[in-house]
Structures are given as structure tokens and as C-alpha cells.
Amino acid sequence: MNVQEAPLPEAAAARRKRQRRRDLKKSLPLYVLLLPSAVLLLVFAYIPMYGLVMAFQNYSPALGVFHSPWVGFQNFMQFFRSYQFPITLKNTLVISVYSLLVNTPLPVALAILTNQMRRVGFKKVFQVISYLPHFISTMVMCGMILIFLSPQSGMIANLFHLFGAKLPDIMSDAGAFAHVYVWTDVWQNLGWNSIIYIAALSAIDPTYYEAATMDGATAWQKIRAIDIPMIMPTVMIILIMSVGNLLNVGFEKVLLLQNPLNLQGSEIISTYVYKIGLQNFQYSLSTAIGLFNTVINVILLLGVNWISKKTTDTSLF
């Protein structure tokens, strides 16, 4: 509504009210479209969010969330003092930071490499094949890792055997766990993770390359002066999102690859939350550990977003 059209305040207010009612009435069918998802979100996202108060209670199923006694930060203190705290925190950080350091630059490099391919047919085939492992389920992937690394009959053991060497039992080695996790992840997702950068590269204005060619730039110089600066914003966005998920390391994969022998290097916060909560039924303690995980994630997300905004002018919000 225009401001100059309102000589009488009451009339304007009445008109605004009528307008508002009309708007609301027009929005009604839209609310109907939102209803199913809103109800599901309320029940399966927001009610559990309220359940986070269990972290500050000594929850007992008989009393429920509303009547269980409050204990303040006791559950958090119990976790911080337990011998599992340094182990799970260290493993979570090692696996996730390692993964971040490897999985950020490699897809960018692969995208640049793919972008340089001049044979269109080869490029297509290469892309189809490099995305392929992404569609293997986590379960099958872990099964493959266990079979291939089996020290008795695995393919890699046989390969070692061919050269007269003996493959150590890698899955029983806590120190090797992070390497296995990260590099099998590279095998499975490197191609897939590069798609977004390939898209960003294909959006670059070709006149840049033409101008560079005129000036006698080599392919390598063009990559350094055009490709890399142009995809930096995309890299930053992806990096921010990955850091925001830093402590949500592939829970399923870690859980499936765990065994009693590598637990020292493979117990991470989320698998510990699962064991404490749904195997030991210490509901409040488990919720507290999970909440700790979420809070760290949100702080990391906001922190990296802030740093990126200051330094590269790229940010999520």
C-alpha cells in the first residue's frame, strides 16, 4: 500500500487489516500444501529437539521428559571425565580433519584435469566411470573393504603374495583405521565430488581462455590464472559446509568397519552415542554427548563462515 494514500489513520488501518485478511485467505491453499511436511517435521524433528532437555536430566522412561529429575550439567561432566572422552574426540577430529584435507583439494584437481580433456567421447566415458563407485551402498562398500583387505584370502593379500610379501592385518590395526577410512572414501567419492567443480569450470566465459591463448599462455598457466581463481568461491562454499559437518563423520561407515581390535582408533563420538544410548540404554548420557557434538558443529560452522566472509567475501549466510 502506498504511504501517501493514507490521510486518515483509522481508514488506513482498516484497509491494511482487510488487505492482510485477503493475503491470508490467498495463502490458505499454500498452507494446505505445507501441512503434511510441517506435521512430520513437528513430530519427528521438533519434538525430538525438545527431547534434548533429557541431556540435563536423569531421564527415566517411567517418569518421561516432563517428570524426570533435573541434574544440570552432570551428564556432560560424566562424559568429559570418562576415559572415552579424549579417545572419541581425538578419533573424530583425526578422521574428519584428515578427510577434509584430502577431500577438498583432490576433487578440484580432478575437475581441472577432466576439464582439460579434449576428446569429448573419452571425457564422457571417464566421467561415467569415475562417478560409478558413488552408487555402491555403504554396506557393500564396507563389505568390499573387508574382503579385499582380508589377510588370508583377500585380493590385495594375493597381490602381495605374488611379490613374496605378506599383507598385515590392516583392519585389526587401530593406527591404520583413519587411512583406510579416508582413502576408500576417495576411491568411492572423488569423481562424484568433482561434479560441482566441473560445472563451475564449464560456466567460465571462454573469452578468458581465448585472450590467454593470444598472449601465449600454456595450459598450466591458464589453469593457475583462470581456472583456480574462478572456482575459488565454490570451493569456499563447499569447505564451509564440510566444516559445519566436521564432527558428523560418516557414522555408518565407521560403525560397520569397527571391530574390537581397532576400536582404539575407530570409536568416534557418534558411534559412542549409539552404543551408550541404544545398546547400554543410558539415555541421558547419550543425549548429552550428542548435544555436545551438535553444539561444536554449529560453532565450527559459524566460525568458518565468519572467517570466510572476512577473508574471501564468500559465505553461506
Binding site: P29, L30, R118, S137, M139, G143, M155, S286
Partner: protein, 305 residues
């Protein structure tokens, strides 16, 4: 640049300087090695699954199946639980994908409309769950509380809403469907519902294909929810049954009187190879044809919300 670019007839083919040529060679060598590193393990699984168990165990299988043998498949197919769980997975995937689309697409459309009263707040309500979750135990207790524990529907209903998919759909509607279309439809007297179902949806096949595929792959691969919510073996999906064969090494083979331990071990390995093939081959065969939709999806998702 080399002199060759001055010869118009040859310029098209030989435009590379010595250094650029070396770079091209480097690229194709790296790409070829990567293809080998991806394809060989997959190929090995297939040939091993068709080979004689002791040839596989003793490293005599390298490029082709040795002494064609279907013991792994025979042992696997004897298990009725494999068939049942396979059926369950197909059912969960089909129903879950339909339900997911039915819930997420309309929400994405509603949020894309500028004239939705309270749009900013409602948007926030949909985005917050992406970053803050109640966590494992509160969600488990909620699912239990609404009586979905050990129910068929637990694989379909509770986690159908995906804020991320809704944002992708919203972005699609905002960028690909012009506002003037809605204005024109209104002049023709169309209601929001009629406009949404008769005009918007037919124009949204691309986004529905993408979100449908994501949802389908997600449900097909889902096992953890089944592990914690479905104790009833008859309701469990294929991936959870695979866990017994591939990860926990529970002898599904059964009925093994008189067999040697080593033979048993070999048979269990063969079942692993065979189960990987039967669970993964369908997706691997379909995927190259659907690849363009997945690519589109990454593009759609990369548009900042």
C-alpha cells in the same frame, strides 16, 4: 603457442605446443590409471563370484573366472530371507520415494511463493532441522512413542521430509517457473491447487526426477534405521541382511554338517561376492542411463538457497 597454429589447415588438430602436448599425455595417463583403479576391483568381485572358491582364496583368479562355479549364488538363493528382504527393499524404495515426493514437492512450491504470509518464519522452521537435530535417543523415543517401532511404515514415514530437497525444489520453482504464469492463471480464474497440479507439476519433471532419484537411492541403501527400529526379520531390508553376510559373518549358510572349516570359510567368502553382485549390479546397470539426472541434481543443489 607453436607455429603450427599459423597453418589454418592443421590448426584444428595440432594446436599444441610441446609443453601442452606433454600435459595432455599426462592427463590421459592419469585418467587411464584412475579408470583401472575403479573398474578392476568391481570386475574382480564379479569374476570371483563366478569362480571356484579355492581358486579365489589361493589367488588364481585375476582377469577371468576360473573353473566356473555358482556355489556362492546357490548358497545365497537358498536363503528365503534374501528374497524377502529384496522384496521389502523394492517396496520401501517405491513407496518411500512416492511419499517423499508427495510431501516435499508441494512444500517446496508453497515456500517459493512470494505472497505466502509468514514466508520468512516458515522458511526458518524448515531450515533449522538441517543444523540442529534432537539426536539419536530423542528421535528413537519419539518413533517408539508414536508406535512405529517394528512397523513397516517406519521405513517410509518418519524421515520423509528432507529440508535440503525442499530447498532444491523451492529454488527450482523460483528460478524456472515465471511469476507471470501464475498471474495469467489467476486471470483465467484458476485456484492455487488447480494451478499447482495442472501447470506447475507438469513443468517440474526435471526436479521431480532428481529428487525422486536421490530419495530412491537413499532408501535403497538405508540400513541403520532398520537396525534400530525393525527387530522383525521379515520386515528388514536387503542392506541389513547383507550386513550379516558381509560384516558380522554370521553363518547364514546353515546346514553345514561334515564340511571342513576352511571350506566353510571359502563358501562364506563366495556368498559375500555373490551378494555384492546381486545387490549392486541392478543399480550399476541402470545408473549410466540416469546419470544426466544426477548431474542436473548437483547443479540444482548448487544454486544458493
Amino acid at each position: 603457442m607453436s607455429n603450427s597454429s599459423q597453418h589454418p589447415a592443421r590448426a584444428k588438430r595440432v594446436k599444441l605446443s610441446g609443453r601442452d602436448f606433454a600435459f595432455q599425455v599426462f592427463i590421459y595417463v592419469v585418467a587411464a590409471l584412475m579408470i583401472l583403479a575403479i573398474i578392476y576391483p568391481l570386475w574382480f568381485i564379479i569374476i570371483a563370484s563366478f569362480s571356484n572358491p579355492s581358486d579365489v582364496a589361493n589367488g588364481r583368479v585375476w582377469l577371468w573366472p576360473e573353473h566356473l562355479d555358482l556355489k556362492g549364488y546357490q548358497a545365497l538363493f537358498k536363503q528365503t530371507i534374501i528374497w524377502r528382504s529384496y522384496g521389502n527393499t523394492i517396496l520401501y524404495t517405491a513407496l518411500g520415494t512416492l511419499f517423499g515426493l508427495a510431501v516435499n514437492i508441494p512444500a517446496g512450491y508453497a515456500l517459493s511463493r512470494q505472497d505466502l504470509v509468514g514466508r520468512k518464519w516458515i522458511n526458518a522452521l524448515y531450515v533449522i532441522p538441517m543444523f540442529i537435530s534432537g539426536g539419536l535417543v530423542p528421535i528413537y523415543l519419539t518413533v517408539k512413542g508414536v508406535g512405529l517401532l517394528n512397523s513397516f511404515w517406519v521405513m517410509i514415514i518418519p524421515f520423509a521430509v528432507s529440508p535440503y530437497n525442499i530447498i532444491v525444489a523451492r529454488t527450482f520453482f523460483q528460478s524456472s517457473i515465471p511469476d507471470s504464469l501464475w498471474e495469467a492463471a489467476q486471470l483465467d480464474g484458476a485456484s492455487t491447487f488447480k494451478y499447482f497440479f495442472k501447470i506447475v507439476l507438469p513443468l517440474s519433471k526435471a526436479v521431480m526426477a532428481v529428487l525422486g532419484l536421490w530419495t530412491a537411492v537413499g532408501i535403497w541403501n538405508q540400513w541403520f534405521n532398520a537396525l534400530i527400529y525393525l527387530q522383525n526379520e521379515n520386515l528388514q531390508p536387503l542392506q541389513l541382511i547383507l550386513r550379516r553376510i558381509l560384516i558380522t559373518n554370521q553363518q547364514v549358510a546353515g546346514n553345514t554338517t561334515g564340511q571342513l572349516a576352511a571350506e566353510l570359510q571359502q563358501l562364506s567368502d563366495m556368498m559375500k561376492y555373490a551378494s555384492i553382485v546381486i545387490s549392486t549390479l541392478p543399480i550399476m546397470c541402470v545408473y549410466p542411463f540416469l546419470q544426466k539426472y544426477f548431474n542436473q541434481g548437483v547443479m540444482l543443489g548448487s544454486v544458493k538457497g
